[in-house]
């Protein structure tokens, strides 16, 4: 049985392009489940595909002491959605490094629900968006800390660069905490390139346009700095930036 088609009234679908999703909904209705057993590790690189609409819906269950790192590039020409529902058992670690790179009238979004069930878990979510023309890039991220999940350490860092007045960045970090000894940080910004970095690059000989292009590349590329095998996602992100900037 196929799950019912979502509506905009559901918070997690608020910014979605439901018109684009409708014709292909059946193939994405059921999330994929990934399980990482106690003490095991998983590292995945999610590259964009050629389709106009690209949706990934993943349930990720991390056992005690398990580690998972996801590197994801979201750059669909119409609608891209990366949805992660993560549960962390005791001392599990989850890291997500994701980029939305969009132009035209595209919508690309990360929607996450990270549930700390056991104590001592750690989650890091770092999202960067580069948006031009009428593109929309969103991050809706909820971190839940269950009763008893003490010493949870959760962090969300979300930044966006808008290259055109018509582009939109939505950012909604959310915390739901039922334990009293936890550390949960979130930061979000939509803005400009760093003036001192621009001056540094110019003082070394780059003209203003080249300096900006390079720094914009760095703004996204820093996401892959810690990946074991980053060549493909680096190249895909570079190509997406060339298309968008």
């Amino acid at each position: 049985m196929t799950a019912p088609f979502p509506t905009r009234r559901q918070e997690e679908w608020r910014y979605a392009d439901l018109d684009a999703l409708k014709p292909v909904w059946e193939q994405f209705a059921e999330p994929v489940t990934l399980t990482v057993g106690a003490g095991e590790s998983l590292e995945e690189v999610w590259l964009p595909a050629a389709e106009d609409v690209r949706v990934r819906r993943v349930h990720l269950a991390l056992g005690a002491g398990a580690k998972a790192r996801i590197f994801a590039l979201n750059t669909s020409p119409v609608y891209g959605r990366i949805e992660l529902d993560v549960s962390l058992d005791e001392s599990a670690e989850f890291e997500l490094f994701g980029a939305n790179i969009g132009t035209g009238v595209s919508t690309n979004e990360f929607v996450t629900n990270v549930r700390h069930i056991g104590a001592g878990g750690r989650s890091r979510q770092t999202i960067r968006s580069v948006l031009n023309e009428k593109a929309v890039g969103s991050y809706l991220g909820k971190v839940e800390v269950a009763r008893g999940a003490q010493q949870t350490d959760g962090e969300q860092s979300v930044k966006a660069m808008l290259l055109d007045r018509g582009a939109t960045a939505n950012c909604k970090p959310e915390l739901e905490i039922y334990a009293d000894d936890v550390k949960c940080a979130h930061g979000a910004s939509v803005g400009e390139l760093d003036a001192m970095q621009i001056f540094y690059a110019e003082s070394r000989g780059m003209d203003p346009a080249s300096a900006r292009a390079l720094l914009l590349e760095g703004f996204v590329m820093l996401l892959w700095d810690t990946a074991k095998d980053a060549d493909d996602i680096r190249e895909a992100a570079r190509e997406a930036l060339r298309r968008v900037v």
């Binding site: 540094y200 690059a201 003082s203 070394r204 000989g205 390079l214 720094l215 760095g218 996204v220």
Partner: protein, 247 residues
């Protein structure tokens, strides 16, 4: 080579430089010393063209060109290099990529052909080696995770790669231990000593000047050059302090 005449500059409407005049002929190294807040770093930034550092009066001629009329990247292509007091971190961009892009931008502006990837890596490795820096560090993002001393050494590697005609080095000695200070001093001599080259060495301490012997030493106080002399002036300052030596 570098002629600064009656330079006045403000930062956020506050006057910082209040009439600096300085002449550095080709082939010479001049040192600028002075207390905190005297305007030393401001002078470096004004020469390199940092936005927000407004020149309200005076002129600077560099190799016969009006330096202040040029954009920062044009100054670099003309052969000016600023060694930053606080080198800037750029996550996501490797040092190799940053420097290759910089050097080739300068070369294009001068009508020279780009260096190929292979040629550039050879040059970068060679310069890193000469300054005792592990070339593997150049694969890391620009200055990210570098110690204070490593950042300063990396600035000198950049200078070796760029081969500028004139270098303004803003407290390149701060954050260096004794061995690193000697290596950096030797690097400055190797890269910047010679006919047709010049250096303005901004420093608080006389130590670096024992490695890089300046031809002239100037004291900058409250936005003006108040004294000039030879290395003996730097030694006097080290002994007596600025307040005493100015008297």
């Amino acid at each position: 080579m570098l002629d600064i005449t009656n330079l006045h500059a403000t930062v956020a409407d506050k006057p910082i430089l209040t009439g600096v005049s300085l002449h550095v002929p080709a082939g010479e190294v001049h040192a600028i010393m002075g207390p905190n807040g005297a305007g030393k770093s401001t002078l470096g930034y004004v020469l390199a063209g940092r936005p927000g550092y407004e020149v309200s009066d005076g002129s600077v001629s560099f190799l016969g060109h009006d330096l202040l009329g040029m954009e920062p990247h044009e100054r670099a292509a003309a052969g000016l290099f600023l060694g930053f007091q606080y080198p800037v971190e750029i996550p996501g961009i490797s040092y190799l990529q940053f420097l290759r892009e910089s050097l080739n931008s300068q070369r294009r502006a001068r009508g020279e052909p780009d260096l190929s990837g292979g040629e550039f890596i050879k040059l970068a490795r060679e310069q890193a080696g000469l300054l005792g820096m592990d070339a593997e560090m150049l694969k890391r993002p620009v200055n990210v995770g570098f110690s204070g001393g490593e950042k300063k050494r990396a600035e000198m590697v950049q200078m070796g790669i760029m081969q500028p005609k004139f270098a303004v080095l803003d407290e390149t000695d701060s954050g260096l231990d004794i061995d690193a200070l000697r290596i950096v001093g030797e690097g400055i001599n190797r890269i910047m000593r010679g006919a047709g080259k010049g250096v303005l060495l901004i420093t608080h301490y006389e130590r670096l000047l024992e490695h890089v012997r300046p031809d002239r030493v100037h004291v900058l106080q409250a936005g003006k050059i108040t004294r000039s002399g030879d290395i003996e002036l730097a030694r006097d300052l080290e002994r007596e302090g600025y307040a005493e030596a100015a008297a």
